[in-house]
Amino acid sequence: MQDQPGADSAFQFEGTWQEFAPIAFTNLLLTIVTLGIYRFWATARERRYLWSRSRFVDENLEWAGTGKELLIGFALAAIVFLLPFFIISQVAQALVLRGQEALGGLLTLVSFLAIFYLAGVARFRALRYRLSRTRWRGIRGGSDTQGWQFGLSYMWKTFVGYLPLGLLVPWSMVSLWNERWSKMSFGPHQFTSEADQGPVFVRYLLFYLAPFLMFFGLTIGGAMFGGAFGMMSDGDVDPDAIGAGFIIGILLFVFGFYFVLGLIAVAFYAAFYREVVGAMRWNSVGFSFTASTKEWIMLLLGDVVLVVFTLGIGYIFLSYRHWKFFITHLEADGEIMLDELTQSTTATSKHGEGLLDAFDVGAI
C-alpha cells in the first residue's frame, strides 16, 4: 500500500476561525474563573482542535496530550527548577550581604549556568513532547534521548555563536536545529536535518551590518531634516527651530531604526525557516516551508492589528493564526509506505511541557 503526497500540498489546514472562536472564548472564560488553572486544559483543547483540522495527505492529525499532564509538568518544573533557583538566589543574596561577595557571585553564576543548560534541555523536551502527542494514522513520534546531551550542545554552541562578535549565531542556530531534529523520530523512522548555514548567513550579514549603515544614513538624514526644519520656519536660521527639528529627527531616527531592524529580523527568520525545514527528511519524505518574508510580515502585522483593534481580546486568536500559517506553508513530497509505518518505540514522558513550554519558541 502506498500513498503519494498530493500534487497541491501534503499539508492542508481545514479549520475556520468561526469554529475556533467558541473554543477560544470558553477557554478564556474558564481560565479566568479558575484563576488561570484551566490554562493547561485550554491549551490541550486548543491543540486538539488545531491538530484535528490539519490534514497530512489523507488523514488528519490528532493531538493526544491532556490538560492534566500539562499541569503535572508545570508543577514538576516549579518544584524541580524554580524552587531550587529561588532558594539559591536567596542564599547568594544573603552571602553577599554577609560580605562573602565572591562566594555569592559564584553561586549566582552557577545558578544562571544551570538555567542556561536547562533552557536547552527544555527546547529539546518541548519538541519531543509535541511529537509524542501528535498522532497520524494512530502513529506517534518521539525521541530515544532525554535531551541532557542537547542541553550541553545548546550551551557551548550558543556561547561560541556569540563569541566572535555574534558572527557565528546563524551557525549555532542551524547546527542546533540539525542536532535537535536528528534525535527525533516519527513511527519507526528517524528525522534527518542537514541544513547549511550558508544561505542563512547572507541574510544574517544584512541584519548584522544594517545597524551601522542605518546609523550613518539616518544620522545624516536626521541632521539634514533638523536643519531644513529650522530654516523652513523662518527665512533665517532659527536655533530653536533647529533644536525642535533635531529632536523630531532623532525620534524618527529611533523609530526608523527599530522598524527597519525588525523587518530585517523577520527577513532573517524567513530565510532561516526556509532553509532548516527545507533540509529536513523523514524516511523518503522531504519537507519545505514556503513562507516568504512578505508573508511573515503580513502575519505579524495582522497579529498587531488584530490585538490592537480588539483591545487585546484578539490575543486568543493568535495561536490559531500561527498554526494556520505554519500548516499552510508547510509542504512535503515523497513516498510513504503505510504498512512499513509502525508504532513508535520511543518512551513517552508521562507529563507535559510544563513551564518548559515557556521556552519553546518555534513551531514543531
Binding site: L30, V33, Y38, W41, N60, Q93, R137, I139, R140, G187
Partner: protein
C-alpha cells in the same frame, strides 16, 4: 471513507490499531450492553468492552474513542450517534472531566465561587494567621528583618530607667516588648517586627507631659500585643508573592511594614489596648487626649483630618507632628475617646517624676556614642 447506508444498529466505523498506520474500515455494532463489535471484511471481528473505551473528543466530522488497555488504539464513529450508541458509549469529552460532568454553566458558577473563596481566604489570611504565629517566631523573624539597631538608640542610665518605668506601666506582661528612643528628629513612633517599639526623639521633645508619651508608647505596645505587626508582615509577604519576583530584600521591607500603616481597626484596637493599660496603671488618659487634640487641632472638632484648613494657624504650629499624623489617622474622635476614658475628678499620680521626664527628654543629647538614626 465509505458513507453507505448501514442497516439499523450498525454504524460505519474506522479504526487504527495503534501498531501500524494501516486504516481499518468497517462497521460497529453493539453486542448486548457490554461490548462493541468492530467488523471488517475478510478480518476476524474485534470485540471491544465498552468499559475499555474512553472519549478522545471529536474530530472534524467524527467522534474519537481510545482504549484504556491499548492507549494507541483509535476508533472513529459518526458525529451524530443513534440513541442506543449514545447511551452505551462514554460521554464526549469537550472541556475536560469536571466541566463535562457539571456542564459549562454550572462549572463556571462553581469555579467562580471557589476562586472567590480562595481569593478571600488569601486576602484575609494575615488577619487570622498573624495571631496564630507564636511570639517567639515573630521575634526571630523581626530580628532577622530589622537587624541590630542598638547603636542608634539613645541610652543614659537615668533615661533608661525612666523608659523602663513607663514601659512597665503600659506593658505588664512578663516578657516586655523592647522599647527605646531612636536618635532621630522625626516626630514619630513605630512598632517594628519582633516586638520592638521606638519613640523618635523628635516626638519625645514635642511631648509636654510624660502622660502623652505613655499614651503613644501604650498605643505602639498595643500594636505588638494585638499581633498587628505579624499581620502586617504576612500582608507584606502576600503582596510580594503576588508581585512575584519583585524580590524586595528582606531588610528593606521591615520599615516598609512599619510605614505601611495599620488598618483603622488595628489603630482602634491599639488605642483600646493603651487605654485599658493606662487605666490599670492609674495613668491619666488626659495627656494622650491633649496630644491628639494638638494633632487634630482642637478639642471641639469631630474630624481631625479636616482641621488643617480650618485651623491653619494651629496646623502650622504643629506641622512638626505631621509624621505621626501620616502613619496614624489622628482625629478629634480619638482624642475624645481618651478624654472620655478619664474618671471625672480623679487625681491621677504622674507616670514619671519631673526628673525622670527630663532624663528621658535629654537622653539623646547626653548619649555621646549614639549614631544618627536614618530610616531610609
Amino acid at each position: 471513507m465509505e458513507e453507505t447506508a448501514s442497516p439499523p444498529g450498525v454504524l460505519p466505523a474506522n479504526w487504527y490499531d495503534g501498531v501500524s498506520a494501516v486504516r481499518h474500515e468497517g462497521t460497529a455494532r453493539l453486542s448486548g450492553e457490554s461490548a462493541l463489535v468492530l467488523e471488517e471484511a475478510g478480518q476476524p471481528a474485534l470485540n471491544v468492552p465498552l468499559g475499555d473505551l474512553v472519549s478522545g473528543g471529536a474530530l472534524a466530522s467524527q467522534l474519537l474513542y481510545q482504549r484504556v488497555s491499548q492507549p494507541d488504539f483509535r476508533l472513529r464513529l459518526p458525529l451524530d450517534l443513534p440513541p442506543d450508541f449514545a447511551t452505551a458509549l462514554p460521554q464526549r469529552r469537550k472541556y475536560g472531566g469536571w466541566v463535562d460532568r457539571m456542564g459549562l454553566g454550572k462549572a463556571v458558577i462553581a469555579f467562580t465561587a471557589v476562586s472567590a473563596a480562595a481569593v478571600a481566604l488569601f486576602m484575609t489570611a494575615p488577619e487570622w494567621l498573624g495571631p496564630m504565629v507564636p511570639p517567639a517566631w515573630e521575634r526571630q523573624i523581626g530580628d532577622a528583618m530589622v537587624g541590630d539597631l542598638g547603636g542608634k538608640l539613645c541610652h543614659t542610665p537615668a533615661g533608661d530607667a525612666a523608659m523602663a518605668k513607663m514601659l512597665a506601666a503600659v506593658d505588664p506582661a512578663e516578657t516586655k516588648v523592647r522599647a527605646g528612643v531612636a536618635n532621630s528628629g522625626m516626630v514619630n513612633a513605630v512598632a517594628l517586627p519582633g516586638g520592638q517599639v521606638m519613640l523618635f526623639d523628635g516626638l519625645v521633645q514635642q511631648a509636654e507631659t510624660p502622660e502623652e508619651l505613655a499614651g503613644v508608647l501604650g498605643h505602639e505596645v498595643g500594636h505588638v500585643r494585638e499581633r498587628h505587626v505579624m499581620t502586617a508582615i504576612l500582608r507584606q509577604f502576600g503582596l510580594s508573592i503576588l508581585l512575584a519576583g519583585a524580590d524586595s530584600g528582606i531588610g528593606n521591607t521591615a520599615f516598609g511594614i512599619a510605614s505601611l500603616g495599620y488598618s483603622r481597626e488595628a489603630e482602634r484596637e491599639a488605642d483600646e489596648y493603651a487605654r485599658a493599660r493606662m487605666a490599670a496603671a492609674d495613668i491619666s488618659p488626659l495627656g494622650a487626649a491633649a496630644f491628639f487634640e494638638r494633632l487634630g487641632g482642637g478639642r471641639d472638632d469631630e474630624d481631625g483630618q479636616e482641621n488643617g484648613e480650618e485651623n491653619s494657624e494651629d496646623a502650622r504650629e504643629e506641622n512638626a507632628l505631621i509624621g505621626w499624623i501620616a502613619s496614624h489617622p489622628s482625629s478629634g474622635e480619638r482624642a475624645k475617646a481618651y478624654r472620655n476614658a478619664a474618671t471625672e475628678g480623679k487625681d491621677y499620680p504622674p507616670v514619671l517624676t519631673d526628673e525622670e521626664f527630663a532624663a528621658l527628654q535629654s537622653m539623646c543629647d547626653e548619649d555621646e556614642d549614639v549614631e544618627e538614626f536614618d530610616l531610609f
